[in-house]
C-alpha cells in the first residue's frame, strides 16, 4: 500500500513537474512523417461490430470516429456527437451530430448513418458481440439529418461510456454494402486516418485522411502498425529504433526502458483487475467463511512486488485506482493469517482444506499462482494448480466447471463495466454464480443513478459487500505503461491504453 501510495505520489509530482506528455505542449507541431508502432499481436478483423480482440481497438481508434470519447479522467467528451440531452429519466438520449463529416469513401455521415449502424449491431444475423453491450437500446429514430434519438428500455448511466468504444464506432454503409463480408479487410470510417493496406502478420498501414473534420488534424502522414509478438524482441525493436512507439511492455523491462536514452516511459493506473473466481455453488467455497479465509490468507503486496515488479497496485474490489469509484478508505484486505484460520474454523474446516485452481499457462500467471500456493499453505490450505490453455480455461469458466479459477478483466471506463457483469446475480460474466439481493439492488441503483457522488456512495457499499461475501479474490490492478521514442510528441496517455494518434506529431531530428 505504501509503495503504491508512493508511486501515485511520484506520478502526481511527475505530472505536475514535467507535463510535456500529459498535455499537448506549446512547441510548434510539425506536420508529416510516418510513425511506426510495435504491437503485441496482429489484428483479427477491421470490422468494429465484429471484433472481440483487444488489439483491434488500437487501430479502430484512428480509423473510426465514435459518437463520443473519454478524456483522461473518464469524462465523456464529444466526437461525432457534438452534444446530447438525456431525457425521460434517463430513458431517452438525443444526440446532436456534427455536420459536414465525411466517411473516407466520400459519403456523408448523418443521423441516417447512426440509425443504420445501430440496426446493424442489433441485427441477430450479424451475431455482433456489440449486441449485448447495447442491449438496453429499444429504438433509434432519425429526427432530422443531424439529430438522432435513442430510446432505452431502462435507465443505463454507463451508456455513453459504452459508446466511447467499439459500439459507438460508425462504419460506412456504402462500404459495407460494397464489400459485404470483405468489409472486415476494407474498413471505412470517419477517423483521422484512412486504411491503406494490411499484410497480415507483417504490417498494417494507415494514411492521413485529408477530409477529416477537425481542421489541421492529424499531423502525421502515415501510421504503420507492426505486430511483434515476443515482448523482448518488441522492446529490442524499440531500442534499436525500428519502431517509434510500443504497445505492451513486460513489467521486467520497464526499468530498462526508463534507463534507456531517447525513450519516454509513461506509467499510469489501468482499468484492469486480476483475481480469482471462486465457485460460490460448490464445496468448499459455497461456504462464505471459507471464501473469506482465502481472502485474508493472500498477501497482495508480495504478489505486486515479485510478479509485477512493483507496478500497479493491490486490488480489493473490481475498481482500480484510476476510477472514481474506488473506495480508498477500505483497509480490510491486508493479510491476516490469524483471521484466516478463524474463518476456516468458522467454515467447519479447522484443519485446513484442499482445492484445485485452474489457471492460464502463462509465465506471469503461473508465478502468481505459485506465490498464492505458498501463502495458503501457511494457514493449512492446500491449493493444487492446474494449468490450461486459454481457450480451455474459458470453456471451463463458461461451463462452471471449476472450484477456483484465475482470470483477469481488461476493464471498462465506467465502473459498471467492471462490476455489474461479475457481481449481479444476472450478470453476463457471473460464472461463479454469486447472488445476493442486496448486491443486485446496489448495482442496479448505481447503473441508473446519474449523480456521480451518489454513485460513488453506492459503489463503496458494493466494495464492502464484495469483500464481505468474497465471491472473487481480487488481487492486483495492473499499471498501464507506454513507451515511445522522444521525437514522438503530443501523445495523451489515458487509462484505457488506446494509442490515439490524431494529435500526435513527430519532431524532426
Amino acid at each position: 500500500m505504501k509503495a503504491w501510495r508512493t508511486l501515485a505520489m511520484m506520478l502526481a509530482v511527475c505530472a505536475l513537474a514535467a507535463p510535456d506528455w500529459t498535455a499537448v505542449p506549446a512547441q510548434a507541431q510539425v506536420r508529416g512523417g510516418t510513425i511506426r508502432i510495435g504491437m503485441d499481436a496482429d489484428n483479427t478483423t477491421m470490422d468494429p461490430h465484429r471484433s472481440t480482440a483487444a488489439v483491434d481497438r488500437q487501430v479502430y481508434n484512428n480509423i473510426y470516429g465514435k459518437l463520443v470519447d473519454i478524456d483522461s479522467k473518464f469524462g465523456i467528451v464529444p466526437q461525432l456527437a457534438q452534444s446530447w440531452d438525456v431525457k425521460n429519466g434517463g430513458l431517452t438520449y438525443v444526440f446532436k451530430l456534427r455536420r459536414g463529416v465525411k466517411f473516407h469513401d466520400g459519403t456523408d455521415f448523418n443521423a441516417e448513418s447512426v440509425k443504420w449502424n445501430f440496426d446493424r449491431m442489433r441485427d441477430p444475423a450479424l451475431a455482433s458481440p456489440r449486441r449485448s453491450e447495447i442491449a438496453p437500446v429499444k429504438d433509434v429514430k432519425v429526427v432530422d439529418p443531424s439529430t438522432v434519438e435513442i430510446a432505452l428500455s431502462a435507465p443505463f448511466t454507463p451508456f455513453l461510456s459504452v459508446l466511447s468504444d467499439r459500439a459507438g464506432m460508425m462504419v460506412s454503409r456504402a462500404a459495407v454494402e460494397k464489400y459485404k463480408d470483405d468489409f472486415a479487410r476494407n474498413p471505412v470510417g470517419t477517423g483521422p486516418f484512412r486504411f491503406v493496406e494490411w499484410v497480415k502478420d507483417d504490417h498494417l498501414t494507415l494514411r492521413r485522411f485529408d477530409g477529416y473534420w477537425e481542421k489541421g488534424l492529424p499531423h502525421l502522414d502515415e501510421v504503420v502498425y507492426r505486430p511483434i509478438p515476443d515482448s523482448s524482441v518488441r522492446f529490442t525493436a524499440m531500442r534499436t529504433g525500428q519502431i517509434d512507439f510500443m504497445h505492451q511492455i513486460h513489467p521486467k523491462d520497464v526499468a530498462a526502458a526508463k534507463a534507456e536514452r531517447g525513450l519516454r516511459v509513461s506509467e499510469i493506473p489501468s482499468l484492469w483487475w486480476q483475481g480469482i473466481h471462486l465457485n460460490n455453488q460448490v464445496a468448499p467455497f459455497s461456504a462464505k467463511a471459507l471464501r473469506q479465509a482465502i481472502w485474508y490468507a493472500v498477501d497482495r503486496p508480495v504478489i505486486q512486488r515479485v510478479v509485477y515488479y512493483n507496478q500497479g497496485g493491490p486490488a480489493w474490489s473490481p475498481f482500480p485506482p484510476s476510477m472514481w469509484a474506488q473506495d480508498r478508505d477500505f483497509t480490510d484486505w491486508r493479510r491476516d493469517p490469524a483471521k484466516a484460520r478463524a474463518k476456516l474454523a468458522e467454515g467447519g474446516m479447522p484443519n485446513g482444506l484442499s482445492f484445485t485452481i485452474k489457471g492460464w499457462n502463462q509465465p506471469t500467471q503461473v508465478q502468481e499462482l505459485q506465490i498464492i500456493q505458498v501463502q495458503l499453505k501457511e494457514i493449512g490450505v492446500d491449493m493444487k494448480i492446474e494449468l490450461l490453455e486459454f481457450g480451455k480455461l474459458l470453456a471451463d469458466l463458461n461451463g462452471h466447471n471449476f472450484v477456483a479459477l484465475r482470470l483477469g478483466w481488461s476493464g471498462r471506463p465506467d465502473p459498471d463495466g467492471n462490476a455489474h457483469v461479475f457481481l449481479h446475480s444476472k450478470g453476463g460474466l457471473n460464472r461463479v454464480r454469486y447472488g445476493n439481493p442486496k448486491m443486485d439492488e446496489l448495482l442496479d441503483q448505481a447503473r441508473s443513478e446519474a449523480d456521480q457522488a451518489k454513485r460513488k456512495a453506492l459503489y463503496t457499499q458494493v466494495t464492502r459487500l464484495g469483500a464481505e461475501d468474497a465471491p472473487y479474490i481480487w488481487l492486483h490492478h495492473d499499471a498501464e505503461v507506454k513507451v515511445w521514442a522522444e521525437q514522438v510528441k503530443g501523445f495523451e496517455h489515458i487509462s484505457d491504453g488506446m494509442i490515439r494518434l490524431k494529435g500526435v506529431w513527430l519532431e524532426k531530428r
Binding site: T44, A127, V199, D201, D202, T236, T240, G428
Partner: protein, 314 residues
C-alpha cells in the same frame, strides 16, 4: 526410376487421406468453443446458436468433413472466420517467406555441417574434432528460441548489425531481404547443423574404414579424391535421410522462429489462428504442413535411391 517414383506417389494417397481425417477431427476436439471466443464473453445463447448455424458448426461432423474435403481437393480450404480471407490465399501469401526461411536454414546448416563433419572425421581426436563435438552438443541441446534471443541481443541490440525483427520481401530489396533472414536462418538451422555434423562424422569414419577406401588409397589416389569422392558420396546417404526427416521438425520450428523474429510466414499464420480460434485457417495450415512433410519424405526417398541404387531395386 520413374516406376519407383510413381509407386511412392500412389502410396501417399491413403496417407494423405488419413492425414486429412486426423487434421479435421483434431481441430474439432480442441477445447474451447470458437463461437464463444469469437463473439466474446457476454454473447447470449441465442447469438451463439446463430453463429454456429451461419458457419455450419451445427451440422453433423461427417457432413462438415465431406464438404471440407471436397473443397480441399479443389484447393478451396474455406475462408478465415476473422478476416474472411480465403485460407488458400492466406497460405500462399505467406508461403514464400517460410520457404525462403527453410531454404536459408538448410543452407546455413549444410554450410556449417559438411566441412565440419568431414574435417572432424578425417582429423579424428584432433582439436578441430573436439571443437565440432562441443558445437554439436551445444547446438543440439540449446532451445531454438533461446538461441534466437541471444542472437538478437548480440547482433541487433549491441552490435546493431542486423534488424531484430521484420521481413523485407525478396523483390523489394535483395540485400535487406538477406539481412532480415540471417538471424532467423541461423536460429532455425543450428540444431540441424549439429545433428548433420555428428551424422556425417560417424558416416565418414565408417566409410573410411572400408576396404575400397583402403584400395583407393593404396592405388595412390590423392587424399582429396578419396575423401571427396569415394567416402563422401557414401557417407552422404545417411545425411540425406537425416536432413529429410528433419524437415518436418524444421517446419515445426519455423513457428517459433517466425514468431520470435516477426516474420509473416505460415508458422505465424497458424499460431495467430490458434490463438484467435480461426478454425479453417488452423485446419488448412496443418493439412498443408502435413502434405509438405509427406512430399519432402518422397523427395528424400528419390534422392536416396539416386545415391544408393540398391534401394530402388528392393
Amino acid at each position: 526410376m520413374l516406376t519407383f517414383v510413381g509407386r511412392r506417389l500412389l502410396a501417399t494417397i491413403p496417407l494423405l487421406f488419413l492425414v486429412s481425417l486426423v487434421v479435421f477431427s483434431f481441430v474439432h476436439v480442441l477445447p474451447g468453443d470458437p463461437a464463444v471466443l469469437f463473439l466474446g464473453e457476454e454473447a447470449t445463447p441465442e447469438t451463439l446458436a446463430q453463429f454456429r448455424t451461419r458457419l455450419g458448426f451445427d451440422r453433423p461432423l461427417t457432413a462438415q468433413y465431406a464438404e471440407w474435403l471436397g473443397g480441399a481437393l479443389q484447393g478451396n480450404l474455406g475462408r478465415s472466420l476473422r478476416t474472411n480471407q480465403p485460407v488458400t490465399e492466406a497460405i500462399l501469401q505467406r508461403l514464400p517467406v517460410t520457404l525462403e526461411l527453410l531454404a536459408a536454414a538448410l543452407l546455413v546448416s549444410l554450410a556449417i555441417a559438411i566441412p565440419m563433419g568431414i574435417v572432424s572425421a578425417v582429423k579424428r581426436n584432433s582439436g578441430v574434432d573436439l571443437m565440432s563435438t562441443v558445437f554439436a552438443l551445444v547446438g543440439f541441446s540449446m532451445p531454438n528460441f533461446w538461441l534466437g534471443l541471444i542472437l538478437i541481443y548480440v547482433f541487433a541490440l549491441f552490435l546493431r548489425w542486423l534488424p531484430p525483427s521484420g521481413f523485407v520481401p525478396l523483390p523489394a530489396d535483395l540485400a535487406d531481404n538477406l539481412r532480415s533472414l540471417i538471424l532467423p536462418a541461423i536460429t532455425l538451422g543450428t540444431a540441424l547443423a549439429a545433428l548433420v555434423t555428428r551424422q556425417l562424422r560417424s558416416g565418414m569414419l565408417e566409410v573410411l574404414r572400408q576396404d575400397y577406401v583402403r584400395t583407393a588409397q593404396a592405388k595412390g589416389l590423392s587424399q582429396r579424391l578419396v575423401v571427396g569422392k569415394h567416402a563422401l558420396k557414401n557417407a552422404l546417404i545417411a545425411v540425406v535421410t537425416v536432413v529429410g526427416l528433419q524437415i518436418g521438425g524444421l517446419l515445426g520450428n519455423t513457428i517459433i522462429t517466425e514468431t520470435l523474429f516477426a516474420l509473416p510466414g505460415v508458422g505465424r499464420l497458424m499460431i495467430d489462428a490458434i490463438f484467435s480460434r480461426d478454425f479453417f485457417i488452423v485446419q488448412g495450415v496443418i493439412l498443408f504442413l502435413a502434405v509438405g512433410y509427406v512430399l519432402s519424405n518422397l523427395v528424400v526417398d528419390v534422392v536416396y535411391s539416386y545415391l544408393d541404387p540398391r534401394i530402388r531395386l528392393r
